[in-house]
Symmetry: C2
Subunit: 422 residues, 2 copies
Amino acid sequence: MYKCNVNRMEDKIKTFSQFGDAGHGGITRYSLSKEAEMARDEFVKRMKAIGAEIETDDLANIYATIPGSDPNAKRIVMGSHCDSVKNGGNYDGILGVMGAMEVLETVVEQNIPHKHPLTAMIFTNEEGSEFPPCMMCSGILAHDYMPERFKDNFEYNKMMASRSILDPNVTFGEKLSQFKYKGDIKNRMSPDKYKALFELHIEQGPILEDAGKDIGVVTCVLGQMIYRVKFYGFAAHCGTFPMKKRHDAFHAAAEALCWLHEEIDKLGHEDLVYTTGEVVIHPCVNTVIPDYFDFSIDVRHENPEVLDQVREILFQLPKKKWQQCDCEVVLGWNRDTVYWNKELVGYVREAVEELGISHMDINSGAGHDAQYISYMIPTTMIFVPSDKGLSHCEPEHTSVEQCTDGASVMLNAVLKLDQASE
Amino acid sequence: MYKCNVNRMEDKIKTFSQFGDAGHGGITRYSLSKEAEMARDEFVKRMKAIGAEIETDDLANIYATIPGSDPNAKRIVMGSHCDSVKNGGNYDGILGVMGAMEVLETVVEQNIPHKHPLTAMIFTNEEGSEFPPCMMCSGILAHDYMPERFKDNFEYNKMMASRSILDPNVTFGEKLSQFKYKGDIKNRMSPDKYKALFELHIEQGPILEDAGKDIGVVTCVLGQMIYRVKFYGFAAHCGTFPMKKRHDAFHAAAEALCWLHEEIDKLGHEDLVYTTGEVVIHPCVNTVIPDYFDFSIDVRHENPEVLDQVREILFQLPKKKWQQCDCEVVLGWNRDTVYWNKELVGYVREAVEELGISHMDINSGAGHDAQYISYMIPTTMIFVPSDKGLSHCEPEHTSVEQCTDGASVMLNAVLKLDQASE
């Protein structure tokens, strides 16, 4: 069994954490930003140092490849993203990039024999923090291989027209066209050139930590649906309008939210998660009764029947009166549960067992670039624990030893695939 | 009894509604804006046309005065503000200005004898829409006459340093210094030059309409307190973090809001009003559990003991656990109930009775410039009905007949004071 290098991994973590340092231990590094460019500069510098060949595609996805012994073999690719949410942490996404770099560095340093070319890569705009949607560029790469019902979500021209939430005058396509790392469409990941994808990632939840395990052998990405729940009241002056005549949209939403929690919790599914994270209120003035309130609800579970049960509860909302307000439930987004390639999952499980690292099977509640790529080529993921389960926030943390263990597992799983296949 | 002119009133309403027309029947006309300047231009044009003398003070408050028969008599002033909230209506504030203009126009047209000079005026920045606080310039005018505990709220240099909510680089003082109508401090309203203030205003609530009355004889402005209720949870990823371990600040706030409504409603005070109109949520991302949520609560009642009862309920919030979040209640603002001058209220009541217009006594739930001026000179207000009780919104409406009735009541009440006093 081969092992990656803790010190080299630590150096990478410290270095990449500077690009977008938000001053409280975490980063804000939007895709196509100056900070994202600095992270790519560092990636290129380190990958050139081990003799890797650098390619960029028309989406600014970037690939660093070292050759294998078989000139006709397809590439085995490892990677993730380097962009973050606002005030995010130093591990989400970038760990999968650093892990891929670490695998290539270890292969070169230890002169490990392998047939297939090995590629480390960065996907552009996974978070969609400035330009929605999430996982935009893996979605575009895999577009032609997706089920028909999802294709429209990642149609190329539509993605290029995505508007910045910071400045609605700027589109993703415009910003991309001026980005240092925009390259050639011929360099895109494709099934004729790429054999399989491995993505190392932090768990972003507390399950591994609570179970005392260092590695999660990921089996699937949970199905997800996002709805907006909207309440329409009317505005009036706060000092003059009697309570009984009010149609207060915020009060309506608060009541409905409490009712939703009660009803969904009654279903009794321990592994169901749902989140009401985004809110719009109008006019948002302390002297005016709100005439509009909406909140997002994101629901995730492996079993589509459980999602259907929650959907049924959601659609009961408009049939009830909430503080004399009208209520509407609108679909924002959904996806099916995606199962990883069983052969690749098997290699990961064998690798972690042979390395003697504690582990368990786990599913992914979060979405990842790998899930769209799985429509195109065989794909799997490896998780390492997140301290206290925190992610998408500045305290996000995983020990350097666990990060390095993750890279070692990926290295050995990749080598198993390399040996097993033509 | 003298009567104002319906057609002239209608012409003023139509004209002033153009300045800041927001396209849905209402206006957005922030103080010191181009639209606010246009409204002052119109005021000056019409007041000069009847021979009034125009003065402006250092706060851009503007005064139009016609002389009385006694050269030594103090001025009787009528007025309100011409600025609006965002997407406000065509009556809040500006009706008091148009009513004052209408009184002066009627006095001149009908050559009505009077001893005191009569002044129509516009107060700057009553709404505080761009530059908080509300009622800023009446507050500055009355500063030296206020109870000590309120003085700091309207300290001159502090007001000048108020930052724009549209552009934090701009202060009120800077914008004021470039405003066309900034004038001389010697022209400020003061007790040695002004005898009393009358303010005509829309009710902004449904009480008059529901009672079928055309005029409200206002007796006081209700006491008010504004608190912020804050919830501190922690952020985590929506797809990965188990429900039982969450500290969801939005869920906490929703539960607390429902509890507040139940507890406050149990007090059983029909005339108590409280409003939770303004919300802050962080990070407001649909894939992240909110780690912070706060809402404002504005509470109004004539009786300070009732406000104390509500305060006691509010301060129970931090002692309870809401979804494992910490809770904090912070005072934003408060004011005492302000009673109008009994002599002036009597003149208003006599005038409306003699005119034969239906009426009732009413208190004001909303704050008005008159309330601060009442610390300096005798003051009172007259209300006309608001259709459906709506205000601070574009559908705000009062019939032109009711608006004109309001002006006629003010005219005759002013003449009663004029006759009764030296």
